[in-house]
Subunit: 366 residues, 4 copies
Amino acid sequence: MNDRLLRVALLGQGFMGKAHSNAYAQAPHFYDLPFRLRRTLLCGRDKTSLAATASRWEWEEISTDWRSAIDRKDIDLVDIALPNYLHAEVAIAAARAGKIVLCEKPLALSLPEAEAMVDAARGRRTMVWFNYRRVPAIAYAHELIEEGRLGTIYHYDAAYRQQWGPDLSRVGSWKLDRAQAGSGVADDLLTHLLDTALYLNGPVAEAIAVSRTFVPNRAIDDAFEAMIRFDNGSLGMFEATRFAIGCRNANTFQVHGAGGMLRFNLERLNHLEFFDATQPALEQGARDVLVTEMKHPIFGNFWRPGHIIGYEHTFIAALAEFLECLARDLEFHPDFADGLAVQRVLAALQQSVTTRQWTSVAEARV
Amino acid sequence: MNDRLLRVALLGQGFMGKAHSNAYAQAPHFYDLPFRLRRTLLCGRDKTSLAATASRWEWEEISTDWRSAIDRKDIDLVDIALPNYLHAEVAIAAARAGKIVLCEKPLALSLPEAEAMVDAARGRRTMVWFNYRRVPAIAYAHELIEEGRLGTIYHYDAAYRQQWGPDLSRVGSWKLDRAQAGSGVADDLLTHLLDTALYLNGPVAEAIAVSRTFVPNRAIDDAFEAMIRFDNGSLGMFEATRFAIGCRNANTFQVHGAGGMLRFNLERLNHLEFFDATQPALEQGARDVLVTEMKHPIFGNFWRPGHIIGYEHTFIAALAEFLECLARDLEFHPDFADGLAVQRVLAALQQSVTTRQWTSVAEARV
Amino acid sequence: MNDRLLRVALLGQGFMGKAHSNAYAQAPHFYDLPFRLRRTLLCGRDKTSLAATASRWEWEEISTDWRSAIDRKDIDLVDIALPNYLHAEVAIAAARAGKIVLCEKPLALSLPEAEAMVDAARGRRTMVWFNYRRVPAIAYAHELIEEGRLGTIYHYDAAYRQQWGPDLSRVGSWKLDRAQAGSGVADDLLTHLLDTALYLNGPVAEAIAVSRTFVPNRAIDDAFEAMIRFDNGSLGMFEATRFAIGCRNANTFQVHGAGGMLRFNLERLNHLEFFDATQPALEQGARDVLVTEMKHPIFGNFWRPGHIIGYEHTFIAALAEFLECLARDLEFHPDFADGLAVQRVLAALQQSVTTRQWTSVAEARV
Amino acid sequence: MNDRLLRVALLGQGFMGKAHSNAYAQAPHFYDLPFRLRRTLLCGRDKTSLAATASRWEWEEISTDWRSAIDRKDIDLVDIALPNYLHAEVAIAAARAGKIVLCEKPLALSLPEAEAMVDAARGRRTMVWFNYRRVPAIAYAHELIEEGRLGTIYHYDAAYRQQWGPDLSRVGSWKLDRAQAGSGVADDLLTHLLDTALYLNGPVAEAIAVSRTFVPNRAIDDAFEAMIRFDNGSLGMFEATRFAIGCRNANTFQVHGAGGMLRFNLERLNHLEFFDATQPALEQGARDVLVTEMKHPIFGNFWRPGHIIGYEHTFIAALAEFLECLARDLEFHPDFADGLAVQRVLAALQQSVTTRQWTSVAEARV
């Protein structure tokens, strides 16, 4: 069954490189993959660390030039875990070379870049690593909403709160460099919120945002807030910040509809709170559902009920589902088009920061 | 409707005196009482504070001798909020004088005392202030269990954890004096747990307990633990302690049955956690039910949904329900017989501490 | 000490009338008031219920005409618990008649009305019933912030989520009638959020808001959202809604500053979460502080540590503190000027809903 | 550095076989191991599944006879993940053959068996897979206690609550077969509680327990409860059950000492609640510490702060630390002697179930 070979080149050896390497190593352990994966090539700029990383994660070869991944005929899949500013160039080259292309989020630095990427990748299989779609609790939330359990949605609020913004030891990270990162929390945290929102609550009609840089002379945004009107009529409040002291990695949302409420926090990623307004009035209450049943989405591939999983499993599941769709010629999401959809909303938000005007997503141009 | 007069004498001006005074003052505000209550007489030993307390809570007269409450013909109801060691003597005298008798918990210092009180009160209306039966969440838990929502009960665990045991400023309190209090946490906290357990889970078959005094030369128990076998076959773990540093007033229980779970903590008294095992498997989770609906037991007499109540309301509700039963000649619980039932279990537990043997409640003699 | 008499007229016999009546009845029980309070006059339109309410809460006289409270010389204090549209007229009349004036929130239907009220009340003692300032946890949050424990504030987010918006049984309530209520959640819930925000985080510079009416043909707003820039540079996200299915009375805020975080939810009003970023890194975590210590603000007047209080106590405490300030000729907040400050921010928000523009509070005119 | 080779034979291909396989696969990815691990041999009885499992987890060879692992000279380490009844025989054989021996918990079916195992393993390096010692939160709790942060311990309560006891689909599992499992929750869940208790709170002096079988004709215990007196004077309440409907995998403890409280729940394994009683009184509260800092024990080997880990990581960490100690000739815990210590307490508990008497651990003989 898995005699079909897929030769992977991973570009990037940072934190995401580690998360992706782990996914390639672990997916065959937990999923019946339709392909045999070979970790053929690891590309990175720092040669010293590259050899060690490759050795640790069993990549067969290394290169300090990402173009070698594109040029080699024996690479089937190129996985881009590079700083944001390189996504477009690399992805377009890879797509043109006929590769399967996986790309870390955000898809691009700008809407035009993202559009060019989608154009270039037409006919190619792609994935954007919005890994949180594969949190079992989020996938399960999606199921409940799709089944209509929340009815008409009134409110979709989301926040991604981290606290490392004031941490001077992080100065020098490419994430704080406008040229490499594009922006601050907007590209980094807000795009996660937006992808989850589009996944759970559908398209955005218009929005207005404000950003703030708390550290003097920092060229990127430390915090970003937005009010959003969704196509389905619901209202959204969004906040992304690295200055929420007290919150480590609190990627949260809460959705209120006629049928009830869903509430989530990534720091408790095995849990989903579900308030079912169709229950008898006296018995209603937000349930703390431990999303670790064998029949919950995703979880059953890993351990047993109550034996919780963590951050890394979302990457494993994303990869495994992508490969399954690839083998069976099924649609997979999020692909580059989904990444572009996020970029389009982000463009509207960023435009609104500048113009201080409500901005229609359809008309955004950044 | 409420032209029938009920003249009350309250004995005691401490913390419980305040809680009871408040109940008499507030019950007419929140309930359509079948009686007009008159706060006729407040008895207490310390004359100075007595006048001030009476004035503050609008007691018409004062006396430093509790016997005056018994002797006066114009007193209908005697409410005993005195240190434990006085309960039996006063209650028996009041009952013999034909009074309605309300008594703070624990009913007595010993099983024989409690039996004598029940004997003396035969034909009289009585109440023991196990006020926590009137926490809406506990009353609602009772309803759910009575309806069979939990099915066969497997486990009934309870703990009452406070932290003031090491607090030297409390030395001198009658609660730490064996002669006045009878025991430490056993009479004080454990009796609350036992009354709630008997209310929710029925009679106890046998038990074994252990106590501990952490403070050198202290004559009472600082902590008390027990394992219990209930008549219904369920197992119980009980803990009462004043040395649970970190817990202010954590009177908790959790019950597991074939049909689900209930969980409660007095520090969050407006909440009841309910796990319904009959729900679809993927949707199961402990619900945080805010027990503040108008149709939840008790709550509707006070405010509106979500406008929470507190400690004092349990006294108001207990009094109001007692008066309602009195007027309509209905059974009321907990009465002295219920207080005796608690005492009987406590006697078995205390006996087991001494003998270090499992002890049948039926055979307990202390 | 309390031989000075204060004769009160309460206008209104609805839910707020009950909450205020309770405050007058209970304040003398828990506080050493500098005045003897007399519940002299209760005014309300429905004569039938009025007599019953007056009897229940021991108001000496009744009147169906609020003007009698103004006209009577033997009334010292007029307390307005009427629908919003009557606040200005009554308060101005009362102030002109030399009364002490207490008024339910919101102060007025519009900014000009509020300004007229402040003008009329110049020289008079006033209070606006923003009772949540007297939640012990909120008062304690104020202390911590004043002491600088949170340092520079980055984010102040607040939401007031209720769920009764779709409830057809509430149709007919004056709260859903534009003429009587002025607006929907804006005047009702958002003003609470704003007063607490001004109290804890200081003045607002500019803001932009959006509102939504989910029920067809309803003339008031069901939901209201805003982004706010505070004078201190922090960003705020605000949401007030009656369509947050799953939330009964979730008046919440969370504040992030350089020194840590505070988080609150009215449904758990005895609790305050405090994250202290000055603690050793490995030990940091949001603390669940039970704000029931005798030395915590407000709580010590009521019961003992861990014996929680509820909604009604905030009214008792507000009244008692007002009377204390009155007797000692000290400033009291929130007074009419504070109510006006809220109104000014609200005006900016409402203006921004119409203009869809960021609006400076200084320039708001509604 | 890691040129030293360690050739592993894993015995068992069930749920634990999977958890151990994952540990061997992942330890080199997250730790700088002092050995190169080779997954040389996987032993299991069912040949069909064995080949698939070996292939999935990259075991080089397979055998249906565990003795081949003992007999082969090219095996350095034998890891026993077999049903309980095989632990003693296999471990003794492996130890006598000079192997490094790792054994799943419980160490043995009886105290004599466990003693024989320790005897046989004298001079050998051993580990018992009490993996929960490597939950970062538990390791951190250990550090805090060792530093004296909790002061004198008063209470150590623990419970392991699962809910699958009534699940008929599990009938047939060796865990429900007395011959293979030895007992029910005692060997399965209670041993986990005991190992953690010995780790955190030290030796047990005496105890009394009770067990219950809720399912008719089931030969093993469904629930087990105990009261424990520790050598340090603290009291313990223990409960292990598969009939706690509503709890998936709630391995919990709470410890109260003069200095504060620690509280843990395996379902939230990245969290540790810490109440520090040395903090200013008004600020005290149980902190929700997210034990995901790089300097928290164990966590730093995996991801970044706030990027949580799960169940499987405890196995990886246990293995890696064992190997580190092995290479550096340092003591490692828990070894067979620690497993024996658990067995000794368990023996006392089981004896007390039969005799219904408090039983000294020193005198237990089962």
